[in-house]
């Protein structure tokens, strides 16, 4: 009884939603990217970049809103690197993702030094205001879920995205521009991941800290897979994983080590991929560079 009231209360609910927000938003970015056939393991780096840029802009302009917008835009710009090498130069998308994660990890700390002369934590900046119980980014997150669902499943663009991730040659045969569509999707994923990063630095906190995403980009990846590459699935998975993050501290009081709670999203994802509870199957053409006129 005591455990239940300790865990399931309004506070936990709020914390869950706060924790879930960046996971869900970044996961939706991942959905666009992977639905179009491009693996994105760089969500972590894109989020980290976004978090940093948000603080940087807020610091110099005093406006957290400009910070949020700047993080979103820059996330997209950062993603262009991934798009460029993997679409234009047919590079291994995993390798490119690894490089982007490193670039973000090294780049943010480097810039932290350059701008703030510190390698740990940035100065405090103006953060986003509360709208009711939450920061605005939380409401945006929910909006993104709805919009993403609408775009992916009800619009022309979404239909084309889904087709190029599964069978790009079929899409090509009816005149769809596979490469352009993939560029757009990778950039969308960077923008959403950048936005998610800004939520961490300007929504949850008011500073940037070295490596502050702490693997959330990979939990977002997990949420995307666990939610079977659908926005509502990602929302559900994100809330579930957010809940575990919210309660891990509380559960420690009941001799459940927080480390074991932290593992849950990753274990769930491996289990989902293994097909123990309904197989999670990625888009068929994922990771394969598209080469025109490659008739089978």
């Amino acid at each position: 009884m005591d455990i239940l009231t300790q865990i399931f209360n309004l506070q936990t609910l709020y914390a869950t939603i706060r924790m879930a927000t960046p996971l869900v938003i970044a996961a939706i970015g991942g959905i666009f990217c992977e639905r179009s056939g491009i693996i994105n393991i760089a969500l972590e780096g894109m989020m980290l970049m976004g978090a940093f840029i948000a603080v940087l802009i807020s610091y110099f302009t005093g406006s957290p809103w400009l910070g949020l917008i700047g993080a979103t835009v820059f996330g997209g710009v950062f993603a262009v690197i991934h798009a460029f090498v993997s679409i234009k130069y047919h590079a291994d998308q995993v390798v490119s993702g690894v490089a982007l994660n490193m670039l973000a990890a090294g780049g943010t700390v480097f810039l932290l030094n350059v701008f703030f002369n510190t390698s740990g934590t940035s100065p405090a900046v103006n953060s986003l205001p509360y709208w009711g119980p939450f920061k605005p980014t939380v409401y945006f997150g929910l909006l993104f879920v709805l919009v993403a669902h609408y775009v992916i499943f009800h619009t022309t663009f979404g239909l084309r995205v889904r087709s190029i991730g599964e069978h790009p040659h079929a899409a090509d045969s009816v005149g769809i521009n596979v490469e352009l569509t993939r560029y757009i999707c990778v950039i969308i994923s960077g923008m959403l991941a950048g936005f998610a990063g800004a939520h961490l630095s300007l929504g949850v906190l008011n500073i940037f800290r070295e490596g502050m995403t702490a693997g959330r980009g990979f939990i977002a990846l997990a949420a995307m897979i666990f939610g079977k590459w659908t926005p509502f699935g990602a929302l559900g998975a994100g809330l579930l994983f957010g809940f575990f993050q919210a309660v891990q501290i509380r559960l420690q009081g009941f001799a459940i080590p927080s480390e074991f709670v932290q593992m849950i999203p990753y274990i769930f994802t491996v289990v989902a991929l293994a097909g123990v509870i309904g197989r999670a199957t990625p888009p068929a053409a994922i990771g394969k560079p598209f080469k025109k006129n490659n008739r089978s």
Partner: protein, 353 residues
């Protein structure tokens, strides 16, 4: 008469060198834009890496784990697999070594090999589930090994902090003398903790070379990596070789952990790995998945990682420049089509289209 096609080797090396050179140029621009002096920075970097015997020894010390993790990634690549989980395998192997190393009353002749083998076994087991899922169900090993990295972070943190920790610290107990790697400072007067692990790493490169190119095991693994269909035709079981290759890869990553635990730290502690597992990916890519290339690439990253502190002290450039360089090198190597097109263009006078 020679079995090596020197033309191709030179071309591959040229691509790697151009990638390194290009990223250093980009690095210099970044340094310049940030208001520092790039020449001074690179000079300091080199001094830090080679300025004294001690510095050189420390460079080799920094190179050692990268040889292991680079070879781990390269080995899997040879079978067409991307083991991105080297970091997790390293941590699990390191913790295992730090634990088995505390066992008391075992003579060194048994204790040391036992500890090292335990670390290798732990690393191999940590990649076993991704290996089986890949071999039997075709589940992409990249995603599963990433997930196992994070499972490892939590598991290792729990065990090292809450089960094996020396009370009041974030470290495990110090290992027994019988499990310690011999250090060069026993012989030469220096501070560096460079240890026999470096020699083991070199030996491992030779062994891996032998395994890959002189035995039937390597013949089969490489055949699966080049052409799974031709391998099946030749009666080679792809699934079995996938599991073997990934587990050997895990063992090599586990060895990296053993060297850190038994040669450098004498225990397991937080901050145990400086992302050696991920740098290993850069090492393997730059080294073209060949033991000799891995050695050279590991040396390069060892130089960068050891020299960066001096670069920071003497030129003021943040140490993380090195991580940026690393990332840019990976990008250039991965998009090497850029360079290949460039070379082809020059050679033929015009493009082939």
């Amino acid at each position: 008469m020679s079995g090596i096609e020197w033309n191709k080797v030179l071309k591959e090396m040229a691509i790697s060198l151009v990638a390194i050179f290009s990223s250093f140029i980009i690095g210099a621009i970044v340094v310049l834009l940030s208001g520092y002096n790039p020449i001074q920075a690179y000079h300091a970097l080199l001094y830090g890496a080679f300025g004294s015997l001690n510095n050189i020894a420390d460079t080799l010390l920094a190179t050692t784990p990268l040889i292991f993790t680079g070879m781990a990634v390269a080995f899997a690549f040879r079978c067409g697999l991307f083991n991105i989980g080297g970091e997790g395998q390293l941590l699990v192997g390191g913790l295992t070594a730090a634990w088995v190393g505390t066992f008391q009353g075992i003579p060194m002749l048994i204790h040391l090999p036992l500890t090292v083998m335990a670390a290798m076994l732990a690393g191999a087991l940590w990649v076993f589930i991704p290996a089986i899922l890949k071999a039997k169900l075709g589940v992409h090993e990249v995603i599963t090994t990433i997930m196992f990295n994070y499972i490892a972070y939590s598991l290792v943190a729990y065990i090292s902090l809450k089960v094996l920790a020396r009370p009041g610290t974030v470290q495990t107990h110090t290992i027994e003398e019988s499990a310690k790697f011999w250090r060069f400072s026993n012989l030469i007067d220096m501070h560096s903790y460079l240890n026999i692990g470096f020699v083991i790493a070199l030996a491992v490169l030779v062994i891996v070379y032998y395994l890959l190119w002189k035995t039937t095991i390597g013949y089969e693994i490489r055949a699966v990596g080049i052409s799974p269909d031709a391998a099946e035709y030749g009666g080679i079981n792809s699934a079995r070789n996938i599991v073997i290759a990934l587990m050997i890869s895990g063992m090599l990553a586990g060895l990296a952990g053993a060297e850190r635990a038994l040669g450098l730290f004498y225990n397991y502690r937080s901050g145990f790995s400086a992302e050696y597992g991920f740098t290993g990916i850069a090492v393997a890519l730059l080294g073209r998945n060949h033991p000799l290339g891995v050695l050279l690439a590991a040396l390069l990253f060892g130089i960068l990682s050891n020299g960066r502190t001096y670069m920071n002290m003497m030129a003021g450039v943040p140490v993380d420049l090195v991580v940026i360089l690393q990332a840019v090198i990976i990008l250039f190597v991965s998009a090497d089509l850029v360079f290949r097109r460039l070379f082809k263009f020059k050679k033929n006078g015009k493009g082939d289209e």
